[in-house]
Amino acid sequence: AAGVIQSPRHLIKEKRETATLKCYPIPRHDTVYWYQQGPGQDPQFLISFYEKMQSDKGSIPDRFSAQQFSDYHSELNMSSLELGDSALYFCASSLGPGLEYTDTQYFGPGTRLTVL
């Protein structure tokens, strides 16, 4: 079965540079989520999109922005990178919220961002 695709898998940037992470959801999934995971920590929710509109926002820094495109893929744009931004960034996708239930989120393999 097709899974969530993330690119790039690894990214090395200098402080104050910008980075763009891409996420391609499972086919027919219309909702994407972004999470950040530091070493030894649990994933922290950043932001989500449903049908190309922002649906929820978590602890996403103002330096970061994201969007979902017409083909449902999503991009996370990170500017003025700081050392503390070094982490694994996961994208997850699901079918959108139904009348009653939130659907299961399936995670991609992640992008490992290293800021030097």
């Binding site: 989520y33 030894g40 920590q41 649990d42 989500s48 929820d56 978590g58 299961t104």
Partner: protein, 112 residues
């Protein structure tokens, strides 16, 4: 949730034994719970989920128990295998919500 650093609780079991991983949650409004398995350098992998209208759900070799009274969730793995070695996270959500709130991971180590 808040993170406490690099040291995860660790559960060490022998191959073939049953494993029980526990999780406490704090949000009384949570009504959807999921267990994920995460291997080193990989994304969380869905194992099993349960809605708040149930207190037990079984999958292949795994069982999730939900006690809403004490806000406790557990994952039972039968006949644990070396391939089960990973970090296990519980996560919670509301039926109308988007963001998953992850609990602290538990590192499961299966020894031969």
């Amino acid at each position: 949730g808040e993170s406490v650093g690099l040291h995860l609780p660790t559960l060490s079991v022998q191959e073939g034994d049953n494993s029980i991983i526990n999780c406490a949650y704090s949000n009384s409004a949570s009504d959807y719970f999921i267990w994920y398995k995460q291997e080193s350098g990989k994304g969380p992998q869905f194992i099993i989920d349960i809605r708040s209208n149930m207190d037990k759900r079984q999958g292949q070799r795994v069982t999730v128990l939900l006690n809403k009274t004490v806000k406790h969730l557990s994952l039972q793995i039968a006949a644990t295998q070396p391939g089960d070695s990973a970090v296990y996270f519980c996560a919670e959500n509301t039926n109308s919500g988007y963001a998953l709130n992850f609990g602290k991971g538990t590192s499961l180590l299966v020894t031969p």
